[in-house]
């Protein structure tokens, strides 16, 4: 297990060191307490999983929309076939994947460079820049739909995936800088100094010392950018306009709903197709995500 940990995980000390036992399981284990806990866990599971389960259930039931049953009354995969062929979700998935990956790549790169600047250097206006990043994070981008629409139009990027990537990078960047900054700051300066003493150039130090150490942070910010791009709705709706072939999953689903608003089986199948990849990905990276959040956003 221990080998799976990154070299420096900001919260590692707190969690691993045995003499500082963390808040957590109490030694008291009265049966009543256990029962109460069980009930709470059950309620929580129902609340979190019911929509997911109901989505899956309807998507697999040929009777969905006609009769409700708690398992598929007439199991079928026809809804999936329908949405992937006629529904065009194959294309939508591809588009979303391209947009999300493009966003991750560009925003992570920019955020990393910027976070190194603010975490490692003292320069005039540093505070102001930090303030700017924070304030910008507070601006509801949704309020900027109109000017951004005009902006992207002026760049001749309306109805293109690149246009969306450009906007999503702007959406993801402030949070990315803010989070990565925590990670960069947590890398011991001594390591860098050691690299310098060995005669390494700054660039080399960046690649061989800093980058590997902030990799977990990059993973966390990447997840955030990915999700931002995958889920985003209002910009995709306004900027892709009539370019159906460039629709992302979010507006692809809306446009599908517009035509098949009563075909709940198919709508749920489409929803599942959109959700499940992210879900699996999320469950796989949940440890990373948690450490990323605490290190970056919280321990700022």
């Amino acid at each position: 297990m221990s080998t799976t940990r990154p070299l420096v995980r900001p919260d590692a000390g707190a969690v691993r060191r045995p003499q500082r036992r963390p808040y957590g399981r109490t030694s008291r284990r009265s049966p009543l307490r256990q029962l109460g806990k069980g009930v709470l866990v059950a309620l929580l599971l129902v609340f979190t999983l019911f929509p997911v389960y109901w989505m899956l259930n309807s998507s697999l039931d040929a009777q969905a929309g006609h009769t409700n049953s708690f398992w598929p009354a007439e199991p079928t995969l026809e809804h999936y076939v329908f949405v992937l062929t006629e529904g065009g979700f194959g294309t939508f998935l591809r588009n979303s994947l391209l947009v999300a990956l493009g966003t991750v790549l560009v925003s992570s790169a920019l955020a990393l460079l910027a976070s190194v600047a603010v975490a490692r250097f003292r320069f005039r206006m540093r505070t102001q820049i930090l303030m700017l990043v924070l304030v910008v994070q507070m601006v509801p981008l949704e309020a900027l739909v109109i000017p951004l629409f005009v902006q992207v139009r002026d760049l001749q990027l309306l109805e293109t995936l690149i246009g969306l990537v450009v906007v999503y990078v702007a959406l993801a960047l402030p949070f990315g800088i803010w989070m990565l900054r925590g990670f960069v700051a947590a890398v011991p300066v001594e390591l860098e100094e050691a690299a310098y003493l060995d005669g390494a150039s700054w660039g080399r130090m960046f690649w061989s010392v800093l980058l590997p150490l902030v990799a977990p942070g990059l993973v966390a910010t990447s997840i955030f950018s990915f999700i931002t791009a995958w889920n985003e709705f209002i910009f995709a709706m306004t900027m892709l306009g009539g370019a159906t072939e460039n629709y992302t999953v979010a507006i692809g689903l809306r446009s599908f709903f517009g035509v098949h608003s009563n075909d709940w089986g198919a709508i749920m199948a489409a929803s599942t197709i959109i959700t499940v990849p992210v879900m699996i990905f999320f469950i796989l990276v949940q440890r990373r995500l948690a450490s990323g959040l605490t290190a970056g956003a919280v321990k700022a």
Partner: protein, 314 residues
């Protein structure tokens, strides 16, 4: 943690070229990010304000010609009775409720998770991840389907339990409409809080809690007098981020039946701005609403920014 790393790199490196490089380098590193922020955030921010001072319609947007009307849009917005009776309460009230709901539930779940064994903790946190991963658009349609008037499972269940005689359309009433939005937003939002707070909780030294327990403090006291102060920063972050996200909720309202403008009693600032601009071609008016939304959010969050920065620079 911050104090330890703010040690200046440049001081320790005597060579002149290094020092000079060190003054230029941060700016080089910052340049791409700043350029993006300037072009895609700051300039649009200025522009939305400029639009809001104009009668900006389709013609203006295609030709780019200005059409100044001063603060007329703002005057008109403020004079709209629905702003005060519908739009602001929907925006503000909903944000307060959903932030409270998200943070309380998320914290509760974090405390619960912390007390679970490895197996159940893994199971439960995986379930939470699944809720988190559900995109807003998908989630909204799933809730719409569950609450569908004629064929939704919710009405079905209520009727077979005898709690409801006839199907009810939950989307037409302002309160039930927002109750569903609230459910949707909390379902999507509490996992972030739970995961973040849990990570924070695991960092609280147990000795402090045991000491408090020996002093006879109950679990509520322990929670509020030890854990909450320890996690002040964590709470600040989750509250502020939830606030930002919940104030500007758009898709979760827009995609609900009646949410795109036909049910006026459920309009919020975001949807109102959208339907006025892209539906009515009143981009100036829509921009003015957007400016109000921005200001509202900035005021709410300004306090937080100051607290965080104050601590940072200490």
């Amino acid at each position: 943690m911050t104090q330890q790393v703010t040690t200046q790199l440049t001081e320790k490196l005597p060579r002149l070229s290094r020092a000079r490089a060190a003054t230029v380098r941060p700016w080089l590193l910052l340049a791409p990010a700043l350029a993006v922020l300037a072009v895609l955030l700051l300039w649009p921010l200025v522009r939305v304000f400029l639009f809001s001072l104009q009668d900006y319609g389709l013609r203006e947007i295609t030709t780019g010609e200005p059409n100044w009307i001063g603060v007329e849009n703002y005057a008109q917005i403020l004079a709209t009775p629905e702003l005060w009776t519908v739009v602001l309460p929907n925006t503000f009230g909903f944000a307060v409720l959903s932030v409270a709901g998200t943070v309380v539930l998320g914290t509760g779940v974090a405390v619960l998770l912390a007390s679970l064994g490895t197996f159940w903790r893994t199971v439960t946190s995986s379930a939470i991840m699944a809720a988190w991963a559900m995109p807003a658009v998908t989630g909204t349609y799933v809730w719409v389907w569950i609450f569908d008037a004629d064929r939704g499972v919710f009405n079905d269940a209520l009727m077979s339990l005898g709690l409801l005689d006839d199907p009810t359309n939950w989307f037409t009433n302002r309160w039930t409409f927002y109750a569903i939005v609230l459910l949707n937003v909390i379902h999507h939002g509490f996992p972030f809080v739970a995961v973040t707070v849990l990570a924070g909780l695991l960092g609280v030294p147990k000795e402090m809690l045991e000491a408090a327990e020996m002093d006879g403090a109950g679990s509520f006291r322990r929670f509020f007098s030890i854990i909450v102060p320890q996690l002040r920063q964590v709470f600040a972050v989750v509250i502020i981020l939830s606030t930002i996200w919940d104030f500007k909720v758009f898709a979760q309202v827009f995609l609900m039946p009646g949410g795109a403008g036909s049910n006026r009693s459920v309009l919020n600032l975001g949807v109102w701005s959208y339907v006025e601009s892209f539906g009515q071609n009143r981009y100036g008016f829509g921009s003015a609403i957007a400016v109000l939304l921005t200001l509202l959010l900035l005021v709410v969050t300004a306090v937080y920014v100051r607290t965080v920065l104050a601590e940072e620079e200490r």
